[in-house]
Symmetry: none
DNA sequence: TATGAATGAGGTTTCATTCAT
DNA sequence: TATGAATGAAACCTCATTCAT
C-alpha cells in the first residue's frame, strides 16, 4: 500500500478518471474510486461535494489546460491560419497523449458535463471560441473558403476528434496518436481551404 | 379477448426515444416511458425483455434503416465517388430529418450500444463498411488522396457528424439540417480530394 | 395437442399438481399451469377462484379420498388393532402409489394447507381422528402400550410417513413403496406394542 | 467512525427466524426483518448477501450445532445403541427447547434448504450419517432388528420428529417437549428392537 | 482530517388477476 | 365458455451520502 502522504484530493481525482473511463459515470461506484485512491469512502466527501463534483473538477482541469495551451496560438501573428490549425490540433492531442483514460472520460461524459453551468464550462466555451476565431481569421485572409459555416465546422471537428480519440483510447495499438493527428491536419486544412 | 389496438410496441419505442433523449438511458425511468406511451408499466415487459432491450431495438431500427438506405449507393456505377459521398451524407441526415430526438439518443447512447453484441450492431458494422468502401473506391479512382487513412477518417467523419447532429437536435432552429449537410459535403469532398 | 373435449377443471388441477410438485406453491406460475393444461391463463379463473383455491381443492381431493378409503377399516370388528394399523398404512400409501407428484405436493404444501379453514381440512381432521381411534382401541385391548401419547404418536407417524414419501417421490427407484410400507408397518406395530 | 455496537448480524438473524417462522421464507419481507432487528433495511445487506443467505446461515447454525452436539454420542463405547438413540433424541430436542420459532423455520424451510449445496448441508448430511451409524451399530450388536431398512428409518424418524416439533411449536402448551421426547424414545427403541 | 458502518430512497421487474372481445 | 393482452401492486437490492467516533 502506498504511503498516504501526498495529495488525497488528487489521488481521488485520478482514481475517478480510471473508474469513470472503465464504467462510465453512472455505473461508477464511489466505493471503487475510494479503494483505488487508498482512501475511505467517506473521505471522498471531505474533498468533493458529491459524485458529480468530481466529474466537474475533472473537466475543469481538462478544459482549463486545453484553453491555456491553445490561447497563445490564436494570438500569434508570425504564423498563418493553416499553421495555427495545425498547432491547435497538436495541442489538443498532446493533452491526451499519455492519458488514454482521460480521453474516454472526455468522450463519454462530455454530454453530462455540458448540461449544467460550471466553471469548467467557461473554459470549454473559450476553447471553442478560439478554434472558431482561427477559422474566421483564415476566412478573412482567404486561406479558408468563405462558404463554410464556422459554427457547423467547429462542432464537426471537435466531434470527429472525440470519436477518433475514443477508438484510439480503446485500442491504442491500432494506430498512433501521431499518425491520427497528421491525417486529421491534412484533411482539415484541405477541407477548409478556399 | 382484449385485442391489440393501435401499436403499443411502437408507442413504447417512441416514448422511450423521447425519454432517453431527455434523460439519457441510465436516468430514464420505465414508469415515465410507460406514461408517455399511455400504457401500464408492466405492459412494457410484454413487448420488450427489459430496459436495455428497448434501446437495442431502437438502434436496430436506426442502423438497419441507415444500412438499407445507403447500400444501393455504394454499388452504383453511374456516379463517381465524390457524388457517392454526397448521397451517403444525404441519406444519413435524412434519417434524422424529422426526428431530432432520435439524433440525441444516437449521440448519447451509441457507446452503450456498441459495447455488446446485438443484431443492430451487425447493421452498424455494415454501414461503416460501406462508407469505408466508397472512400477506398475514390482512392483507387484517384478522386481521393491516397495519403488518407480510411480507418481514421471513417471514425472522424462519423464522430463529427454525431456531434453536429447533437447540437442541431438541442437547438434545431440555429441551423437547418440542410445547411449542415451542404457544409459537410463540401468540406468532406475537399478534405478527401487528392 | 390433445383435443380439448374433456374436463378442463381436472386438466388444470392435474397440471397444477405437476407444477406445484416441481416448483412449490409460491414459485409456481399460473401461466405454466395453464400451458400444461392446454388452456389460456385467464381460463384458470373460470374454474378456480385463485391460485390458492387450486391448492385447496387438490388437498380436498386427497384427504377426502384418504378419509373414505380408511373409514371402513376403523369400524371393522373382524380384525384386531394391529391389523387395522397395517391396513391403514396400506391405504395411505396406495393413494400415492402411482402419483409421486401428489406426494411432493402433500409434503411441501401441507403446512400452507393447514393454516386456514377449508373443506379439505375437515377430512384431514377426520382422517387423523381415525388413526387416533385405532390406536386408542389397541390400547384398550392391550395390544398397544398404555404409556404412549396418542396425540404425539399420530403426528409422529404422519410426519414420518410424509418425509419418507418425499424421498421416495424424488427418487422412486431407490426403494419401492412396497418395501417402505412393510418396513414401516413392522416398525410401527413393534413400537406401539405393549 | 461509527462503530459496530451490539451485534447487528445476530439481531438480524434472530429477527429473520421470527419472521420466517411467522410467514414462511417466500412471504417474509426484508423490511419486516429489518424493523424487528431495529436496523435500516439496507443494513441487512451489510451482513448478508441476500435474503436466501440469511436462511442459509440460520440452517448452518442449526445443523452445525446439532452435528457437534451429537458426534460424541455416536463414538462412545460405554453405552449401548439403545442408550445412544435416547441421547441422540435428547440432543436433538434440546436445541429447540427454548426456540419454538427455530423449530418452525426448520420444519417449513428445510426443503428449500436441502435443494442447493451450502456449508450447512454438509453438517446436515453428517448429522444424518451419525443417526444411521448408531442404528447400524445396534443392528450389529443385535440390539436392533436386522430386518429394518436404515435408509427408510432415518427419514421416517427425522420426518416424524419434524412434524411433532411443528405442532409443539405452534401450541407449546399442549404438551411439553420433555413429554414428547420420552414418548418418542420409548416408541423408537421398541420399534427398532429385535 | 479520517473512517466505514449505517442509512433509506428509489427503480426494475414479476406475475396474479381482470376484462374487453 | 374462452381468450390473452393489459394491468399495477409489491419488494428486493443498490449505492450515494451521512455521521458518530
Amino acid at each position: 500500500m502506498r504511503v498516504k502522504e501526498g495529495n488525497k484530493e488528487l489521488d481521488i481525482k485520478e482514481a475517478a478518471i480510471r473508474v469513470f473511463a472503465e464504467s462510465g459515470f453512472h455505473k461508477a461506484k464511489i466505493a471503487k474510486i475510494a479503494e483505488l485512491a487508498n482512501v475511505a469512502a467517506g473521505s471522498v466527501y471531505l474533498y468533493y461535494k458529491n459524485k458529480e463534483d468530481i466529474l466537474d473538477r475533472i473537466f475543469l482541469d481538462l478544459w482549463k489546460e486545453l484553453y491555456e495551451n491553445t490561447k497563445a496560438i490564436a494570438e500569434r501573428s508570425d504564423i498563418n491560419p493553416v499553421e495555427k490549425i495545425e498547432y491547435f490540433v497538436d495541442s489538443f492531442f498532446n493533452v491526451f497523449n499519455q492519458k488514454p483514460e482521460m480521453a474516454l472520460v472526455f468522450v463519454h461524459e462530455q454530454n453530462q458535463f455540458v448540461k449544467k453551468p460550471s466553471e469548467g464550462l467557461i473554459y470549454y466555451d473559450k476553447f471553442l471560441a478560439q478554434g472558431e476565431f482561427i477559422i474566421s481569421q483564415g476566412i478573412e485572409t482567404e486561406d479558408f473558403s468563405k462558404n463554410i459555416s464556422v459554427k457547423v465546422l467547429r462542432y464537426f471537428i471537435l466531434g470527429g476528434v472525440r470519436f477518433v480519440l475514443e477508438h484510439w483510447a480503446k485500442a491504442p495499438d491500432d494506430y498512433t496518436l501521431v499518425a491520427i493527428r497528421e491525417n486529421l491536419k491534412a484533411f482539415l486544412t484541405k477541407g477548409l481551404s478556399s
